[in-house]
Every structure is written in C-alpha cells, then in structure tokens.
Amino acid sequence: MDSIPLFQLQILSAILFAIGFGTVLIRRNLFFVLMGVELMLNAANLSFLAWSRVQSGASTLEGQVAPLFSIAIAAAEACVGLAMLLAVFRSRESLDTDAFSRMKG
C-alpha cells in the first residue's frame, strides 16, 4: 500500500484541529464544546502517528505510544466531563456556556 505522504497527513491533522477548535469557539452547547475538544485531541494523535512513520528506530515507537496515552486520558476526560456536564445541567437546566458566569471575579 502506498503510504500517504507526511505533508498531506499533517494538513489533515491541522484541518481536524481547526474544525475542533472552531467547534469549541462557535457552539454554545457544552456537548459540542466537549466534542470539539475530542476532535482536537485526535488531530494531535494523528499528527504524532504521521511523524512516527518517517522516524526510524526507537523514535517510531515513541510516536505510537504517545497517542495511546492520549486516548486513555481522553477517555477519562470524557467520563469526568460528561459527569460534570450532567451535574451542571441538573442545577442550571441549561447547557449554554454563556450562561455560566457565576465565577466571574
């Protein structure tokens, strides 16, 4: 199988990241904000993997191990995030980020 060139993979990763970040910025619903964050994490994972393919020796492994960590942590983060989201929704009856300004200094 012909390998996809590094450059194209990086561009893809950047596009994914931008979409994720855009989602975080644009959507007011906390669900979508969390989804945007997941997308950004996976964009970074893709970038890691793409880089690992052009490396040689031990660096190849490092490039593949880092995404594994990242996925595991992202799973934990999703758990906590969704739990908090539920708690917030119960107390506020809303998922609008702009509505949460009680902690302003």
């Binding site: 975080v24 910025l25 644009i26 980020t97 702009d98 949460f100 902690m103 302003k104």
Partner: protein, 671 residues
C-alpha cells in the same frame, strides 16, 4: 597592653557618659524634676575627666617612648627614627576595589596638644555647667549633649585620616545645632540653630569636595590617612607632578574647597554669620563649642594637612587675607555690640581670623599656639560672662550692667585675667601667642598684613576694655529689681573660673620665645608642621628684633586700652539709649547676612518659585496625561475581560498565534 590600644577609650568614655545621661533623661521624661542633678552632673564630669587623665597618660607615654629610642640611639650609635605617634587602626571601613579606607585613631604631638585642652577645658566647662544649668529642667539632656559633643570633638582630632575627622566634623556640627537650640521653646533659638547648621552644611560640602579632589590627585590606592598624605607630599618623587599645570590647578581648587569647609566651621568670611547667632545657646555651650574647641577645628585641619596646603601658594594667600579681613571686620563689629555674649562672639571670630592669618603666612605652629592660649582666655571670658548673666538673672545687655566689680569679685578677677590675656599685656597668654603671631606675619607675610593685624590688636584692646568697663567699672545701670539679687556664682562655677583664669595668665609660657627652655609647644608640633614650615622662607631675613616687636604689640594694647577708657569711662557713647541696634551698627553686623541672602538664599527662593509655579504644573500635567492614557487603555480592554468562555478562549488562541508568528519570523535573531 601597649599605649596605642588605649586610644579608642578617649572618645568612648564621653560616649558612655552621653548614653547614661541620655537614658536618664529619656527615662525621666515624664517626671516633674527629672533625674537627680547630682548624679547626672557627676557622671557628666567624671567621663571627660577620665578621658583627660588618659590623654595625659598617653602624652607622657609618647614622650617616654621617644626618650627610650633616643637613649638607644645614643648608647649604640644608631640613627633610628623617633616614634612620633601612637596609631590604632580599628577596622577596615570601606574596602572595595583599590579603595581601602581604614577607621582608626592616631595620637601624635598635634593631637596631644589639642586633646589636652579639649578634654581639660571640656571637663572644667562640664563642671561649670552643673552650677549654670542647675535650675533647668533639661539638665540631664544638656549634659548628654555636651558629652556627645566632646566625644565627637575627640574623634575629629584623633582620627587617623580626613574621613574619620569628617565624621567628628559632622558630629560636632550636630551637637552644636542641638545645643544652640537647647532652649527650644523660643523660635529665635531654633532659627539660630538651623542657621548654624545650614551655614555649616555649605562648608561641609566644600570639605567633602576638596577631599575627593585631593584623593583624585593622590590616586585611589593611597590610603587616606594623614600619615600617607603627608608622606606623599613630602616625597621628592612627586614634586614634578605637583609642578605640572593640571595637578597644580586641581590642588589649588581642592585646597580652596577644604578651606571653605574651615571657614564654615571656624566662622570666617564668607561663612561667619552663624556664630553671633549661636550665642542663643546656654553660655557653657558658647564657651566650649563656640570659643574654645569646635570653632578652632578649621585651624586644626589646616595644620593637619599643612603639607598639602604649602603646595598651593594661592590658597595660602587667600587664607592669610581672609584671616586678616575677618579679624579686622569682626573687631570693628565687636566695637558696637550691646550684648555681652555677642561682643565675645565677634571677639572669637576676630581671634580665629588671627589664627588663619598665621596659618596663611606659613606659621602653622604659632597659629595653633594662639588656638591653645585662646582656648583658655576665651573660655574664661565666656564663663565669666555666664557668671555675670547668672548673677543678673539672665540679663545680657551691657547697657544694663556696670559697677559689678565689687559685687562679683571672683567673676571679676577671672574675667580680668582673661581680659589681660586677650589684650596682650605683658606675660599674659595672649602676649606670647599674639606677639609671636604678629612677628611671623611681619616676617613671612609682609607689612600690609602686619599693619592690619596690628590695627586689629588695637581694636581688640578697645572693645574688650569697653566690655570690661561697661560690665564692671562704669557706674551701675542695673535695674533696681535685679540689683538686690546679684550674687556670686556657686562653687561649681567658681572653680573653673579660678583654674581657667590662672591658665590664661600662664598658658603662654608653653612657648615663651624670649625665655630659653620655654618651647614645649613648638617641640610638640615639629614633626607635623615642621616640613611644611621649612618651605616658607621669610620675606625679610633681618627683621626687627623680637623684643622691639613685642614692645610695639604692647604699646598697641595700651593705646587701645587708653582710648577705650577715654571713650567709655562713664558708660557713654550709645550706651544710654536702650533701643535695639540700628543704622551703622546693625548694617555692619548684618552685612554678611545680606550677602548670604543675595548669593545663597534668593537664588534658592527664585528657583524654588520657578519649580513650584512652572515646573511642578508641567510635570504633574505630564503625569496626569500618562495616567489618563493608562485608564483609557484600561477602559478599552475591559471588554475582553467579560465572563464569556468563547471570547476568552479566542483571545488566548489569538495570543498564541501572535507569539508563534513572532517566533517564526524572529527565530533566527533570537537564537
């Protein structure tokens, strides 16, 4: 323990007295009477007395050390140098780079002479103060200040270099300020104290700048001790450098600035106005600080640095002429004063002028000899005046005195001795020192200076005799209410009067030029001012004989006394009017105040006006402008600080992007 290890004790003892009396004064601040007069007076006299005994011991110790070496030289045929001083380096004060300033004391012939009369007369005046200040609530505070003054004066004289001297120099200025304004409930006293302090600051600035310039000439690696400075200037290897234009100009500037410091401390033209005002302080203060010791420190400094000053002939000329001018000016002013202490104050300025005149013509030792004898007779005159003021219940106006000779016999006898000495009548202290001084002035300074000095000697006799007549001999003009209470002073005040009165008659024999063997004084100073004086060749080698000059001096005194008796015998000549000074007398007195106002005070006032009315609004406007800009920026950026997650996030993303862009384009320059 070697003698030199005792040096630090001399200033430490009065400091101890200051601490104890100061604590007593503070601790008893809330009580009605203050601490026991007996205790605090005893302590105040005890420590200076021990210091005096210590100085005596060191004086003879130095003499013995020299004798030992001299005997060795004779017996073994050696040529060892005689020890000229005890030195005690205490600690390194400032050590940085080339500069290494040590703090230490040095005790040599000059120091020993100065310290003998500073601690000796100081002790007597402390004793006198017990009686004079007995009824004052601030007794302990007064004694504390006096002890502190003595300690500072000792540091001034005992310091091993000009920097240590400067420490004492500032210290005595502070104590002078504290004691002039001792009776601080009256504004006039506080004004006088501030004036003394400020005028002295001008001189002190000169001292410091002169010192730094001098250090520049010597090079920073020369340790700034009198010993090193003298050796540097005595070294023939440096004579070529001293002759070069730049160094000579620097040296002249430096010595002139140092001399400015001396004029401030010693009340010479142009910085003399503070001393008459300083008479606002209690009389013992006037006697100790403003007559016997502090005001002579200018002459002391010149003698200490004689090796420097002789290499600046222009400065020496300036010193001589300023000394002569001050002597004459102050003598004329003394002539029209109506306050007994003011007469003595101007007399002090005049006598200090004599000393500077002698120093200026290169006769350092005879200038210092006049310092020595003057300390005795001016102290006794001031203390006598204090006794008169005490007897009259605070009256200082000569026009309200008279006929006191019979009522105050002891005071009269003491002041008579002082008067006898200052007018220069035969064999009194002033006779020996003033005639020697006049002789040196004639031989080394020329006839013009001699004429001024001789004229001043006549004036001195006139105004001093006038003071004596108006106080003691003329018909009594004392107010009736006061007259009943006139009483002789208590014993503590009489003893110093006796001792100093006798001193002012016999002190001159320390250097009675005409009597062989009476040359203790110049022998003490030979090693310090000798090399400098050797550079001065008399203008006329074949001057008139010393006897003839002494005859001229005595004739001048007698002439002045006779004139004075003719003028003031009945207390006439302005003394009938009770009005304050006006017209000529006032203008003459205040001439230098006017000059100070024009030269010093008005420029400051004008510039302060400019600063207040023009610069201050401009600057504050500028400050407000910046503050306004900052608050505007704050208002504008407030919008970004809203509690909106998406705004905050986009702002941080924007910031990150900007940083990345900057790094990309400037990575090369940063690395």
């Amino acid at each position: 323990m070697g003698m030199e290890n005792l040096l630090w004790l001399i200033p430490a003892l009065p400091v101890l007295g200051f601490l104890i009396n100061g604590s007593l004064s503070l601790a008893s601040a809330r009580t009605h009477n203050g601490p026991s007069r007996g205790l605090s007076g005893f302590l105040a006299v005890l420590f200076p007395l021990i210091a005096f005994l210590l100085v005596l011991k060191l004086h003879f110790g130095l003499h013995d050390a020299q004798e030992v070496v001299r005997a060795q030289n004779q017996n073994l045929g050696l040529h060892l140098a005689l020890p000229q001083s005890f030195t005690q380096p205490l600690w390194s004060w400032i050590a940085t780079g080339d500069i290494n300033l040590s703090f230490g004391f040095a005790f040599d012939g000059l120091t020993s002479v100065m310290l003998l009369f500073i601690t000796g007369i100081g002790t007597l005046i402390h004793l006198y103060s017990i009686g004079y200040m007995a009824h004052d609530r601030g007794f302990a505070r007064f004694m504390a200040y006096m002890n502190l003054f003595l300690a500072n004066m000792i540091v001034l004289v005992l310091g091993n270099g000009p920097i240590v001297t400067f420490l004492g120099w500032e210290g005595v200025g502070l104590c002078s300020y504290l004691l002039i304004g001792f009776w601080h409930h009256e504004t006039a006293n506080n004004d006088a104290a501030r004036k003394a302090f400020l005028v002295n600051r001008v001189g002190d600035l000169g001292f410091l700048m002169g010192l730094f310039l001098l250090w520049q000439i010597l090079g920073p690696s020369t340790p700034l001790t009198y010993q090193a400075i003298a050796e540097w200037f005595r070294d023939p290897a440096h004579s070529a450098a001293l002759a070069s234009g730049v160094v000579a100009a620097l040296l002249t500037t430096s010595t002139l600035l140092l001399f400015l410091g001396c004029t401030g401390k010693s009340a010479q033209i142009p910085l003399l106005t503070w001393l008459p005002d300083a008479m606002a302080g209690p009389t013992p203060v006037s006697a100790l600080i403003h007559a016997a010791t502090m005001v002579t420190s200018g002459v002391f400094l010149l003698a200490r640095m004689s090796d420097v000053f002789v290499h600046a002939p222009l400065t020496m000329q300036v010193i001589a002429w300023i000394g002569a001018a001050t002597a004459a000016w102050a003598a004329v002013t003394g002539f029209v004063q109506t306050d007994i202490k003011k007469v003595l104050a101007y007399s002090t300025i005049s006598q200090l002028g004599f000393m500077f005149l002698a120093v200026g013509v290169g006769a350092f030792d005879s200038g210092l000899f006049h310092v020595f004898t003057h300390a005795f007779f001016k102290a006794v005159l001031f203390l006598g005046a204090g006794s008169v003021i005490h007897a009259l219940g605070g009256e200082q106006d000569l026009r309200k005195m008279g006929g006191l000779a019979k009522k105050l016999p002891i005071t009269f006898a003491a002041m008579f001795a002082g008067w006898y000495a200052i007018t220069g009548l035969p064999f009194g202290a002033g006779f020996w020192s003033k005639d020697l001084l006049l002789e040196k002035v004639l031989l080394q300074g020329g006839t013009a200076l001699y004429a001024i000095a001789l004229g001043t000697a006549i004036l001195t006799a006139i105004y001093m005799t006038r003071m004596m007549i108006l106080t003691f001999w003329s018909p009594s003009r004392v107010e009736h209410a006061v007259e009943h209470h006139v009483h002789e002073a208590p014993l503590t005040m009489q003893v110093p009067l006796w001792i100093l009165g006798i001193g002012s008659l016999v002190a001159g024999f320390a250097w009675a030029g005409m009597i062989p063997g009476c040359s203790w004084f110049p022998a003490q100073l030979a090693s310090i001012v000798g090399p400098a004086q050797a550079l001065f060749v008399p203008v006329e080698h074949e001057g008139p004989s010393a006897i003839l000059l002494a005859g001229v001096g005595v004739t001048a005194s007698l002439l002045g006394i006779a004139l004075s008796f003719g003028l003031f015998r009945r207390g006439a000549f302005r003394e009938k009017s009770q009005a304050p000074l006006s017209g000529f007398a006032k203008g003459w007195t205040l001439a230098f105040d006017t000059i100070h106002a024009v030269v010093g005070i008005w420029p400051v006032r004008i510039s302060s006006w400019i600063l207040e009315k023009i610069c201050q609004p401009l600057l504050s406007g500028l400050v407000r402008l910046f503050a306004y800009i900052v608050s505007l920026v704050g208002l504008a950026t407030q919008w970004f600080q809203r509690p909106r997650l998406r705004v905050n996030l986009s702002m941080s993303a924007l910031g990150l992007v900007l940083i990345l862009i900057f790094l990309i384009f400037h990575a090369r320059t940063l690395l």
